[in-house]
Protein backbone atom coordinates (compact mmCIF):
# COMPACT_ATOMS: atom_id res chain seq x y z
CA UNK A 1 0.00 0.00 0.00
CA UNK A 2 2.69 2.48 0.91
CA UNK A 3 4.82 3.17 -2.10
CA UNK A 4 8.43 3.10 -0.95
CA UNK A 5 9.42 5.53 -3.67
CA UNK A 6 7.43 8.29 -1.99
CA UNK A 7 8.14 7.28 1.56
CA UNK A 8 10.71 9.97 2.19
CA UNK A 9 11.72 13.41 1.10
CA UNK A 10 14.49 13.17 -1.51
CA UNK A 11 17.88 14.13 -0.19
CA UNK A 12 18.29 16.65 -3.00
CA UNK A 13 15.35 18.60 -1.72
CA UNK A 14 16.74 22.01 -1.06
CA UNK A 15 14.22 23.42 1.37
CA UNK A 16 14.85 22.16 4.84
CA UNK A 17 11.61 21.16 6.58
CA UNK A 18 10.39 23.68 9.09
CA UNK A 19 9.47 22.68 12.60
CA UNK A 20 9.00 19.13 13.78
CA UNK A 21 9.22 16.46 11.15
CA UNK A 22 7.06 13.37 11.10
CA UNK A 23 5.76 14.07 14.53
CA UNK A 24 2.13 14.95 14.95
CA UNK A 25 0.81 16.07 18.29
CA UNK A 26 -1.70 13.54 19.50
CA UNK A 27 -3.81 16.11 21.24
CA UNK A 28 -4.03 19.53 19.72
CA UNK A 29 -3.50 22.19 22.36
CA UNK A 30 -6.14 24.79 23.19
CA UNK A 31 -6.16 27.97 21.13
CA UNK A 32 -2.63 29.25 21.36
CA UNK A 33 -0.47 31.76 19.60
CA UNK A 34 1.35 28.88 17.91
CA UNK A 35 -1.71 28.23 15.71
CA UNK A 36 -1.13 28.62 12.00
CA UNK A 37 -4.86 28.85 11.38
CA UNK A 38 -7.37 30.18 13.85
CA UNK A 39 -11.08 30.79 13.33
CA UNK A 40 -12.93 32.57 16.12
CA UNK A 41 -16.71 32.22 16.06
CA UNK A 42 -16.78 32.63 12.32
CA UNK A 43 -20.18 33.01 10.70
CA UNK A 44 -20.72 33.28 6.98
CA UNK A 45 -24.07 34.25 5.56
CA UNK A 46 -24.39 34.30 1.80
CA UNK A 47 -26.79 36.96 0.63
CA UNK A 48 -28.90 34.48 -1.30
CA UNK A 49 -29.48 31.95 1.42
CA UNK A 50 -31.25 32.06 4.75
CA UNK A 51 -29.17 29.45 6.58
CA UNK A 52 -25.57 30.44 7.36
CA UNK A 53 -22.95 28.47 5.39
CA UNK A 54 -20.79 28.60 8.50
CA UNK A 55 -22.28 29.09 11.93
CA UNK A 56 -20.04 30.29 14.79
CA UNK A 57 -17.16 28.06 13.80
CA UNK A 58 -14.10 28.10 16.09
CA UNK A 59 -11.14 25.97 15.05
CA UNK A 60 -7.42 26.28 15.68
CA UNK A 61 -4.84 24.37 13.67
CA UNK A 62 -1.24 24.11 14.80
CA UNK A 63 1.80 24.29 12.68
CA UNK A 64 2.54 20.97 11.03
CA UNK A 65 -0.90 19.46 11.65
CA UNK A 66 -2.83 17.38 9.14
CA UNK A 67 -6.56 18.07 9.41
CA UNK A 68 -9.48 16.48 7.59
CA UNK A 69 -12.49 18.70 7.13
CA UNK A 70 -15.45 16.39 6.61
CA UNK A 71 -19.18 16.64 6.32
CA UNK A 72 -21.93 16.13 3.78
CA UNK A 73 -22.22 18.20 0.67
CA UNK A 74 -23.36 21.72 1.52
CA UNK A 75 -22.05 21.56 5.07
CA UNK A 76 -19.66 24.48 4.50
CA UNK A 77 -16.29 22.82 3.81
CA UNK A 78 -15.51 24.85 0.69
CA UNK A 79 -16.71 28.03 2.37
CA UNK A 80 -14.31 27.33 5.24
CA UNK A 81 -11.39 27.06 2.81
CA UNK A 82 -12.49 30.06 0.73
CA UNK A 83 -12.55 32.26 3.81
CA UNK A 84 -8.99 31.20 4.71
CA UNK A 85 -7.90 32.26 1.21
CA UNK A 86 -9.78 35.52 1.47
CA UNK A 87 -11.82 34.58 -1.59
CA UNK A 88 -14.63 35.84 0.56
CA UNK A 89 -14.96 37.56 3.95
CA UNK A 90 -16.83 36.25 6.98
CA UNK A 91 -20.02 37.96 8.07
CA UNK A 92 -18.87 37.79 11.70
CA UNK A 93 -15.86 36.51 13.59
CA UNK A 94 -12.10 36.60 13.13
CA UNK A 95 -9.77 34.52 11.02
CA UNK A 96 -6.01 34.39 11.44
CA UNK A 97 -3.50 32.71 9.18
CA UNK A 98 -0.13 32.85 10.89
CA UNK A 99 0.08 36.51 11.94
CA UNK A 100 -2.35 37.86 9.33
CA UNK A 101 -5.84 38.96 10.30
CA UNK A 102 -7.44 37.58 7.17
CA UNK A 103 -10.85 39.25 7.26
CA UNK A 104 -9.36 42.68 7.94
CA UNK A 105 -6.51 42.37 5.49
CA UNK A 106 -6.41 45.32 3.08
CA UNK A 107 -6.82 44.28 -0.55
CA UNK A 108 -3.29 45.06 -1.52
CA UNK A 109 -1.96 42.65 1.12
CA UNK A 110 -4.14 39.71 0.06
CA UNK A 111 -1.40 38.44 -2.32
CA UNK A 112 0.95 38.19 0.64
CA UNK A 113 -1.58 35.92 2.38
CA UNK A 114 -2.05 33.77 -0.70
CA UNK A 115 1.69 33.37 -1.17
CA UNK A 116 1.74 31.63 2.20
CA UNK A 117 -1.07 29.26 1.25
CA UNK A 118 -0.96 26.59 -1.43
CA UNK A 119 -4.20 25.13 -2.71
CA UNK A 120 -5.43 22.27 -4.79
CA UNK A 121 -8.90 21.46 -6.01
CA UNK A 122 -10.94 18.58 -7.30
CA UNK A 123 -10.66 19.92 -10.86
CA UNK A 124 -6.86 20.47 -10.81
CA UNK A 125 -7.09 23.92 -12.50
CA UNK A 126 -4.02 23.45 -14.68
CA UNK A 127 -3.33 25.72 -17.65
CA UNK A 128 -4.03 23.49 -20.66
CA UNK A 129 -1.65 25.33 -23.01
CA UNK A 130 1.39 25.10 -20.73
CA UNK A 131 3.61 22.12 -20.09
CA UNK A 132 3.84 20.46 -16.69
CA UNK A 133 7.02 22.42 -15.95
CA UNK A 134 5.45 25.57 -17.36
CA UNK A 135 2.44 25.21 -15.09
CA UNK A 136 4.61 24.94 -12.01
CA UNK A 137 6.97 27.71 -13.15
CA UNK A 138 3.99 30.01 -13.83
CA UNK A 139 3.15 30.09 -10.12
CA UNK A 140 6.62 31.45 -9.40
CA UNK A 141 6.84 33.78 -12.41
CA UNK A 142 3.70 35.66 -11.45
CA UNK A 143 4.98 36.40 -7.99
CA UNK A 144 8.20 37.77 -9.45
CA UNK A 145 10.69 35.01 -8.68
CA UNK A 146 14.01 35.07 -10.52
CA UNK A 147 14.26 32.72 -13.48
CA UNK A 148 17.47 31.17 -12.07
CA UNK A 149 15.54 30.20 -8.94
CA UNK A 150 12.67 28.86 -11.02
CA UNK A 151 14.98 26.72 -13.17
CA UNK A 152 16.45 25.17 -10.07
CA UNK A 153 13.33 24.69 -8.01
CA UNK A 154 10.80 23.39 -10.55
CA UNK A 155 12.62 20.11 -11.33
CA UNK A 156 13.12 19.55 -7.62
CA UNK A 157 9.46 19.85 -6.82
CA UNK A 158 8.51 17.68 -9.82
CA UNK A 159 10.83 15.01 -8.41
CA UNK A 160 9.17 15.37 -5.03
CA UNK A 161 5.70 14.73 -6.43
CA UNK A 162 6.94 11.84 -8.56
CA UNK A 163 6.79 13.46 -11.97
CA UNK A 164 10.47 13.28 -12.84
CA UNK A 165 10.97 13.19 -16.61
CA UNK A 166 7.48 14.52 -17.34
CA UNK A 167 8.23 18.25 -17.23
CA UNK A 168 7.70 18.67 -20.98
CA UNK A 169 4.36 16.83 -21.11
CA UNK A 170 1.15 18.74 -21.67
CA UNK A 171 -1.60 18.32 -19.05
CA UNK A 172 -3.85 16.40 -21.46
CA UNK A 173 -1.08 13.83 -21.87
CA UNK A 174 -1.31 12.94 -18.17
CA UNK A 175 -3.64 10.77 -16.11
CA UNK A 176 -5.92 12.38 -13.56
CA UNK A 177 -3.64 11.38 -10.72
CA UNK A 178 -0.63 12.84 -12.50
CA UNK A 179 -2.51 16.07 -13.18
CA UNK A 180 -3.32 16.36 -9.50
CA UNK A 181 0.38 15.84 -8.76
CA UNK A 182 1.17 18.78 -11.02
CA UNK A 183 -1.40 20.86 -9.14
CA UNK A 184 0.16 19.84 -5.84
CA UNK A 185 3.64 20.65 -7.16
CA UNK A 186 2.37 24.08 -8.19
CA UNK A 187 0.77 24.63 -4.79
CA UNK A 188 3.89 23.53 -2.95
CA UNK A 189 6.66 25.00 -5.09
CA UNK A 190 6.71 28.28 -3.19
CA UNK A 191 6.93 26.41 0.11
CA UNK A 192 3.66 27.58 1.62
CA UNK A 193 3.00 27.52 5.34
CA UNK A 194 -0.34 25.85 4.71
CA UNK A 195 -1.68 23.57 2.00
CA UNK A 196 -5.45 23.65 1.52
CA UNK A 197 -7.01 20.85 -0.50
CA UNK A 198 -10.69 20.92 -1.46
CA UNK A 199 -11.71 17.34 -2.30
CA UNK A 200 -8.41 16.68 -4.10
CA UNK A 201 -9.33 13.04 -4.66
CA UNK A 202 -12.89 13.74 -5.74
CA UNK A 203 -12.17 12.96 -9.38
CA UNK A 204 -9.80 10.06 -8.83
CA UNK A 205 -10.19 6.31 -8.42
CA UNK A 206 -9.40 4.77 -5.00
CA UNK A 207 -5.85 3.60 -5.82
CA UNK A 208 -4.86 6.94 -7.32
CA UNK A 209 -6.49 8.69 -4.37
CA UNK A 210 -4.33 6.66 -2.03
CA UNK A 211 -1.20 7.77 -3.93
CA UNK A 212 -2.28 11.41 -3.67
CA UNK A 213 -2.83 10.96 0.07
CA UNK A 214 0.70 9.60 0.45
CA UNK A 215 1.99 12.64 -1.38
CA UNK A 216 0.03 15.01 0.86
CA UNK A 217 1.38 13.13 3.87
CA UNK A 218 4.89 13.53 2.56
CA UNK A 219 4.30 17.26 2.11
CA UNK A 220 2.90 17.41 5.64
CA UNK A 221 6.13 15.81 6.90
CA UNK A 222 8.14 18.73 5.55
CA UNK A 223 6.40 20.81 8.21
CA UNK A 224 3.62 22.12 6.02
CA UNK A 225 0.22 22.30 7.65
CA UNK A 226 -2.39 20.49 5.55
CA UNK A 227 -6.14 21.05 5.67
CA UNK A 228 -8.10 18.75 3.40
CA UNK A 229 -11.82 18.82 2.78
CA UNK A 230 -13.22 15.47 1.73
CA UNK A 231 -16.16 13.15 2.05
CA UNK A 232 -14.18 10.05 1.20
CA UNK A 233 -14.71 7.72 4.18
CA UNK A 234 -11.97 5.23 3.41
CA UNK A 235 -9.25 7.87 3.22
CA UNK A 236 -10.19 9.47 6.51
CA UNK A 237 -10.53 6.10 8.22
CA UNK A 238 -7.17 4.82 6.98
CA UNK A 239 -5.20 7.93 7.88
CA UNK A 240 -6.35 8.40 11.48
CA UNK A 241 -5.59 12.09 11.61
CA UNK A 242 -7.41 14.98 13.19
CA UNK A 243 -10.98 15.25 11.94
CA UNK A 244 -13.14 18.36 12.06
CA UNK A 245 -16.69 17.57 11.05
CA UNK A 246 -19.13 20.17 9.83
CA UNK A 247 -22.86 19.81 9.55
CA UNK A 248 -25.12 22.60 8.36
CA UNK A 249 -22.25 24.99 8.95
CA UNK A 250 -21.57 24.00 12.54
CA UNK A 251 -18.63 22.07 13.96
CA UNK A 252 -20.19 18.89 15.30
CA UNK A 253 -16.98 16.99 16.00
CA UNK A 254 -13.27 17.74 16.42
CA UNK A 255 -11.18 14.65 17.18
CA UNK A 256 -7.45 14.36 17.05
CA UNK A 257 -7.44 10.78 15.67
CA UNK A 258 -10.74 10.49 13.97
CA UNK A 259 -12.54 8.25 11.56
CA UNK A 260 -15.19 9.45 9.13
CA UNK A 261 -18.39 8.44 10.83
CA UNK A 262 -18.63 7.49 14.48
CA UNK A 263 -20.26 4.12 14.80
CA UNK A 264 -20.45 3.67 11.07
Amino acid sequence: MIDAKYADVPSGWSWAPRGRVGCQPDVHPPVASASVIRLERVTKLYKTSTRPALDRVSVAVDKGEFVFLIGPSGSGKSTFLRLLLREDVPTRGNIFVSDLNVAKLPRRRVPRLRQRIGCVFQDFRLLPNKTVGGNVAFALEVIGKQSATIKKVVPEVLDLVGLQGKAERMPHELSGGEQQRVAIARAFVNRPLVLLADEPTGNLDPDTSQDIMLLLERINRTGTTVVMATHDHSIVDSMRRRVVELDLGQVVRDESRGVYGVGR
Binding site: L85, P111, Q115, R116, R125, F138, E141, V142, A187, N190
Partner: protein
Protein backbone atom coordinates in the same frame (compact mmCIF):
# COMPACT_ATOMS: atom_id res chain seq x y z
CA UNK B 1 8.43 42.74 -12.03
CA UNK B 2 9.51 40.23 -14.62
CA UNK B 3 9.34 41.99 -17.95
CA UNK B 4 9.84 38.81 -20.01
CA UNK B 5 6.72 37.39 -18.39
CA UNK B 6 4.66 40.50 -19.13
CA UNK B 7 5.90 40.71 -22.73
CA UNK B 8 5.06 37.06 -23.31
CA UNK B 9 1.56 37.47 -21.88
CA UNK B 10 0.91 40.58 -23.96
CA UNK B 11 2.04 38.94 -27.19
CA UNK B 12 -0.10 35.86 -26.52
CA UNK B 13 -3.05 38.07 -25.70
CA UNK B 14 -2.76 40.13 -28.87
CA UNK B 15 -2.31 37.05 -31.05
CA UNK B 16 -5.18 35.17 -29.48
CA UNK B 17 -7.58 37.87 -30.54
CA UNK B 18 -6.27 39.01 -33.90
CA UNK B 19 -9.53 40.15 -35.49
CA UNK B 20 -10.52 42.11 -32.43
CA UNK B 21 -7.06 43.61 -32.14
CA UNK B 22 -7.13 44.74 -35.77
CA UNK B 23 -10.59 46.29 -35.36
CA UNK B 24 -9.43 48.07 -32.24
CA UNK B 25 -6.27 49.38 -33.91
CA UNK B 26 -8.13 50.63 -36.98
CA UNK B 27 -10.87 52.36 -35.03
CA UNK B 28 -8.31 54.02 -32.82
CA UNK B 29 -6.31 55.01 -35.89
CA UNK B 30 -9.31 56.63 -37.60
CA UNK B 31 -10.29 58.46 -34.47
CA UNK B 32 -6.78 59.75 -33.90
CA UNK B 33 -6.38 60.60 -37.59
CA UNK B 34 -9.41 62.86 -37.28
CA UNK B 35 -8.07 64.40 -34.11
CA UNK B 36 -4.81 64.98 -35.95
CA UNK B 37 -6.63 66.66 -38.85
CA UNK B 38 -8.42 68.88 -36.38
CA UNK B 39 -5.16 69.80 -34.71
CA UNK B 40 -3.62 70.64 -38.08
CA UNK B 41 -6.61 72.87 -38.86
CA UNK B 42 -6.15 74.66 -35.54
CA UNK B 43 -2.48 75.13 -36.26
CA UNK B 44 -3.23 76.48 -39.73
CA UNK B 45 -5.76 78.90 -38.30
CA UNK B 46 -3.20 80.20 -35.82
CA UNK B 47 -0.55 80.52 -38.47
CA UNK B 48 -2.91 82.27 -40.86
CA UNK B 49 -4.01 84.69 -38.19
CA UNK B 50 -0.39 85.55 -37.55
CA UNK B 51 0.22 85.89 -41.24
CA UNK B 52 -2.63 88.35 -41.60
CA UNK B 53 -2.34 90.36 -38.43
CA UNK B 54 0.43 92.42 -39.98
CA UNK B 55 -0.82 92.25 -43.55
CA UNK B 56 -4.48 93.02 -43.32
CA UNK B 57 -5.35 96.38 -44.77
CA UNK B 58 -8.45 98.42 -45.38
CA UNK B 59 -8.61 99.34 -49.04
CA UNK B 60 -10.23 102.58 -50.13
CA UNK B 61 -10.96 102.13 -53.83
CA UNK B 62 -11.12 105.35 -55.83
CA UNK B 63 -13.63 106.19 -58.52
CA UNK B 64 -12.67 105.47 -62.12
CA UNK B 65 -12.01 109.08 -63.14
CA UNK B 66 -9.69 109.67 -60.18
CA UNK B 67 -8.07 106.30 -60.86
CA UNK B 68 -7.49 107.10 -64.51
CA UNK B 69 -6.15 110.64 -64.08
CA UNK B 70 -4.03 110.49 -60.97
CA UNK B 71 -0.90 108.31 -61.24
CA UNK B 72 0.74 109.33 -57.95
CA UNK B 73 -2.00 110.77 -55.70
CA UNK B 74 -0.75 114.27 -56.25
CA UNK B 75 -4.08 115.79 -57.26
CA UNK B 76 -6.33 117.45 -54.64
CA UNK B 77 -9.06 114.78 -54.35
CA UNK B 78 -6.70 111.88 -53.72
CA UNK B 79 -4.21 113.92 -51.69
CA UNK B 80 -7.06 115.20 -49.51
CA UNK B 81 -8.35 111.73 -48.80
CA UNK B 82 -4.85 110.50 -48.07
CA UNK B 83 -4.05 113.25 -45.58
CA UNK B 84 -7.44 112.81 -43.85
CA UNK B 85 -6.55 109.16 -43.33
CA UNK B 86 -2.99 109.87 -42.27
CA UNK B 87 -4.17 112.36 -39.65
CA UNK B 88 -6.31 109.77 -37.89
CA UNK B 89 -4.70 108.30 -34.76
CA UNK B 90 -6.20 104.93 -35.66
CA UNK B 91 -4.20 104.72 -38.84
CA UNK B 92 -0.62 103.61 -38.99
CA UNK B 93 0.23 104.28 -42.62
CA UNK B 94 -1.39 104.88 -46.00
CA UNK B 95 0.05 103.65 -49.26
CA UNK B 96 -1.24 104.61 -52.70
CA UNK B 97 -1.48 101.98 -55.40
CA UNK B 98 -2.26 103.23 -58.90
CA UNK B 99 -3.99 101.37 -61.73
CA UNK B 100 -0.76 100.08 -63.26
CA UNK B 101 0.48 98.69 -59.94
CA UNK B 102 -2.93 97.13 -59.26
CA UNK B 103 -2.81 95.50 -62.68
CA UNK B 104 0.67 94.08 -62.07
CA UNK B 105 -0.39 92.63 -58.75
CA UNK B 106 -3.55 91.22 -60.28
CA UNK B 107 -1.60 89.51 -63.03
CA UNK B 108 0.75 88.07 -60.48
CA UNK B 109 -2.10 86.79 -58.35
CA UNK B 110 -3.89 85.05 -61.16
CA UNK B 111 -0.84 84.13 -63.23
CA UNK B 112 -1.61 81.46 -65.83
CA UNK B 113 -5.34 81.64 -65.30
CA UNK B 114 -7.81 82.93 -67.83
CA UNK B 115 -8.96 85.65 -65.44
CA UNK B 116 -5.65 87.39 -65.96
CA UNK B 117 -6.41 87.99 -69.65
CA UNK B 118 -9.89 89.35 -69.05
CA UNK B 119 -8.79 92.37 -67.13
CA UNK B 120 -7.29 95.55 -68.49
CA UNK B 121 -5.55 98.18 -66.35
CA UNK B 122 -8.41 100.66 -66.83
CA UNK B 123 -10.95 98.35 -65.20
CA UNK B 124 -9.03 98.20 -61.93
CA UNK B 125 -9.37 101.03 -59.43
CA UNK B 126 -6.47 102.81 -57.81
CA UNK B 127 -6.55 102.26 -54.07
CA UNK B 128 -5.43 103.83 -50.88
CA UNK B 129 -4.16 100.96 -48.73
CA UNK B 130 -4.59 101.71 -45.08
CA UNK B 131 -2.64 99.97 -42.36
CA UNK B 132 -4.42 100.30 -39.06
CA UNK B 133 -2.75 100.91 -35.73
CA UNK B 134 -5.99 100.02 -33.97
CA UNK B 135 -7.32 96.82 -35.53
CA UNK B 136 -10.58 96.96 -33.58
CA UNK B 137 -11.91 100.47 -34.07
CA UNK B 138 -9.86 101.41 -37.12
CA UNK B 139 -11.76 99.64 -39.88
CA UNK B 140 -15.14 101.14 -38.95
CA UNK B 141 -13.64 104.59 -38.52
CA UNK B 142 -12.09 104.44 -41.98
CA UNK B 143 -15.31 103.18 -43.49
CA UNK B 144 -17.33 106.00 -41.89
CA UNK B 145 -14.84 108.66 -42.83
CA UNK B 146 -14.48 107.59 -46.46
CA UNK B 147 -17.92 106.33 -47.48
CA UNK B 148 -19.68 108.87 -49.67
CA UNK B 149 -16.65 111.13 -50.05
CA UNK B 150 -15.92 112.56 -53.43
CA UNK B 151 -13.56 110.28 -55.34
CA UNK B 152 -14.25 107.21 -53.22
CA UNK B 153 -15.86 104.23 -54.92
CA UNK B 154 -16.03 101.83 -52.00
CA UNK B 155 -14.20 100.62 -48.92
CA UNK B 156 -13.07 97.02 -48.67
CA UNK B 157 -12.06 95.55 -45.35
CA UNK B 158 -9.75 92.61 -46.11
CA UNK B 159 -10.64 91.16 -42.78
CA UNK B 160 -14.11 90.36 -44.14
CA UNK B 161 -12.46 88.15 -46.74
CA UNK B 162 -10.13 86.59 -44.19
CA UNK B 163 -13.01 86.01 -41.82
CA UNK B 164 -14.64 83.79 -44.43
CA UNK B 165 -11.45 81.76 -44.65
CA UNK B 166 -11.29 81.47 -40.89
CA UNK B 167 -14.91 80.41 -40.85
CA UNK B 168 -14.05 77.68 -43.31
CA UNK B 169 -11.00 76.48 -41.40
CA UNK B 170 -12.91 76.65 -38.14
CA UNK B 171 -15.63 74.54 -39.75
CA UNK B 172 -13.08 71.94 -40.82
CA UNK B 173 -11.76 71.87 -37.30
CA UNK B 174 -15.21 71.48 -35.73
CA UNK B 175 -16.31 68.77 -38.12
CA UNK B 176 -13.13 66.74 -37.67
CA UNK B 177 -13.29 67.10 -33.90
CA UNK B 178 -16.93 66.06 -33.88
CA UNK B 179 -16.21 63.00 -36.03
CA UNK B 180 -13.19 62.27 -33.89
CA UNK B 181 -15.40 62.29 -30.81
CA UNK B 182 -17.84 59.81 -32.35
CA UNK B 183 -14.97 57.61 -33.44
CA UNK B 184 -13.35 57.96 -30.03
CA UNK B 185 -16.51 56.60 -28.40
CA UNK B 186 -16.39 53.65 -30.79
CA UNK B 187 -12.70 53.14 -30.02
CA UNK B 188 -13.39 53.37 -26.31
CA UNK B 189 -16.14 50.76 -26.43
CA UNK B 190 -13.98 48.48 -28.56
CA UNK B 191 -11.04 48.77 -26.19
CA UNK B 192 -13.29 48.11 -23.23
CA UNK B 193 -14.87 45.13 -24.96
CA UNK B 194 -11.51 43.73 -26.01
CA UNK B 195 -10.17 43.99 -22.49
CA UNK B 196 -13.23 42.13 -21.22
CA UNK B 197 -12.95 39.42 -23.85
CA UNK B 198 -9.25 39.18 -23.22
CA UNK B 199 -9.78 38.83 -19.50
CA UNK B 200 -12.47 36.23 -20.12
CA UNK B 201 -10.33 34.10 -22.42
CA UNK B 202 -7.58 34.26 -19.86
CA UNK B 203 -9.74 33.66 -16.80
CA UNK B 204 -8.02 30.36 -15.98
CA UNK B 205 -4.61 32.02 -15.98
CA UNK B 206 -5.91 34.93 -13.97
CA UNK B 207 -7.59 32.55 -11.55
CA UNK B 208 -4.33 30.72 -10.99
CA UNK B 209 -2.47 34.00 -10.65
CA UNK B 210 -4.82 35.22 -7.93
CA UNK B 211 -4.64 31.88 -6.19
CA UNK B 212 -0.86 31.79 -5.95
CA UNK B 213 -0.75 35.38 -4.73
CA UNK B 214 0.21 37.41 -7.78
CA UNK B 215 -0.20 41.12 -7.11
CA UNK B 216 -2.68 43.29 -8.97
CA UNK B 217 0.15 44.56 -11.13
CA UNK B 218 0.94 41.11 -12.42
CA UNK B 219 -2.66 40.20 -13.11
CA UNK B 220 -3.66 43.49 -14.71
CA UNK B 221 -0.56 44.83 -16.37
CA UNK B 222 -0.68 42.44 -19.36
CA UNK B 223 -4.21 43.63 -20.15
CA UNK B 224 -3.31 47.29 -19.74
CA UNK B 225 -0.18 46.99 -21.85
CA UNK B 226 -2.19 45.15 -24.48
CA UNK B 227 -4.63 48.06 -24.65
CA UNK B 228 -1.86 50.66 -24.63
CA UNK B 229 0.02 48.86 -27.41
CA UNK B 230 -3.06 48.95 -29.64
CA UNK B 231 -3.55 52.62 -28.76
CA UNK B 232 0.01 53.48 -29.71
CA UNK B 233 -0.08 51.39 -32.90
CA UNK B 234 -3.36 53.12 -33.78
CA UNK B 235 -1.70 56.50 -33.26
CA UNK B 236 1.25 55.56 -35.47
CA UNK B 237 -1.08 54.43 -38.23
CA UNK B 238 -2.96 57.72 -37.85
CA UNK B 239 0.29 59.65 -38.29
CA UNK B 240 1.08 57.58 -41.37
CA UNK B 241 -2.41 58.35 -42.65
CA UNK B 242 -1.89 62.08 -42.12
CA UNK B 243 1.38 61.98 -44.07
CA UNK B 244 -0.25 60.09 -46.93
CA UNK B 245 -3.20 62.47 -46.78
CA UNK B 246 -0.92 65.47 -46.93
CA UNK B 247 0.88 64.34 -50.07
CA UNK B 248 -2.14 62.84 -51.83
CA UNK B 249 -4.93 65.31 -51.02
CA UNK B 250 -4.18 68.29 -48.86
CA UNK B 251 -1.24 69.62 -50.87
CA UNK B 252 -3.39 69.41 -54.00
CA UNK B 253 -6.43 70.94 -52.32
CA UNK B 254 -4.56 73.88 -50.85
CA UNK B 255 -2.10 74.41 -53.69
CA UNK B 256 -3.92 77.48 -55.07
CA UNK B 257 -4.33 79.45 -51.88
CA UNK B 258 -0.96 78.34 -50.53
CA UNK B 259 0.97 79.61 -53.53
CA UNK B 260 -0.87 82.91 -53.28
CA UNK B 261 0.19 83.16 -49.68
CA UNK B 262 -3.39 83.13 -48.46
CA UNK B 263 -2.70 80.28 -46.02
CA UNK B 264 0.59 78.73 -44.98
CA UNK B 265 1.18 75.20 -46.30
CA UNK B 266 0.94 72.15 -44.05
CA UNK B 267 4.48 70.93 -43.59
CA UNK B 268 5.81 67.50 -42.66
CA UNK B 269 7.10 69.26 -39.54
CA UNK B 270 3.50 70.07 -38.59
CA UNK B 271 2.59 66.39 -38.77
CA UNK B 272 5.67 65.53 -36.74
CA UNK B 273 4.44 68.11 -34.25
CA UNK B 274 1.02 66.43 -33.89
CA UNK B 275 2.34 62.85 -33.77
CA UNK B 276 3.51 62.79 -30.14
CA UNK B 277 0.20 64.36 -29.15
CA UNK B 278 -1.68 61.61 -30.97
CA UNK B 279 0.48 58.89 -29.44
CA UNK B 280 -0.09 60.32 -25.99
CA UNK B 281 -3.84 60.59 -26.51
CA UNK B 282 -3.96 57.05 -27.91
CA UNK B 283 -1.93 55.52 -25.10
CA UNK B 284 -3.71 57.58 -22.45
CA UNK B 285 -7.24 56.77 -23.57
CA UNK B 286 -6.38 53.09 -23.94
CA UNK B 287 -4.77 52.93 -20.51
CA UNK B 288 -7.61 54.72 -18.76
CA UNK B 289 -10.28 52.69 -20.56
CA UNK B 290 -8.45 49.46 -19.81
CA UNK B 291 -8.00 50.34 -16.18
CA UNK B 292 -11.61 51.39 -15.67
CA UNK B 293 -12.86 48.27 -17.45
CA UNK B 294 -10.72 46.02 -15.29
CA UNK B 295 -11.98 47.79 -12.19
CA UNK B 296 -15.64 47.69 -13.14
CA UNK B 297 -16.19 44.50 -15.05
CA UNK B 298 -13.39 42.10 -14.40
CA UNK B 299 -12.81 40.43 -11.10
CA UNK B 300 -9.10 39.92 -10.86
Amino acid sequence: MRSDFVVREVVTGLRRNVTMTVAMVLTTAISLGLVGTGLLAVRTIDRTEQLYSDRVEVQVALTSDVSANDKDCSQPVCAGLKSTLENSPLVESVRFENQEQAYERYKELFAGQSLADLVRPQSLPATLRVRLSDQQAGADAVRQAMAGQVGVRNVIDQRDVVAKLFDFLGGVRNVTFALAMVQAVAALLLISNTVQVSAFTRRTEVGVMRLVGATRWYTQLPFLIEAVVTGVVGALIAVGGLLVGKFLFIDELLSGIVSNGVVPPIEVADIIWVSPILVMIGAGIAAVTGYVTLRLYVRL
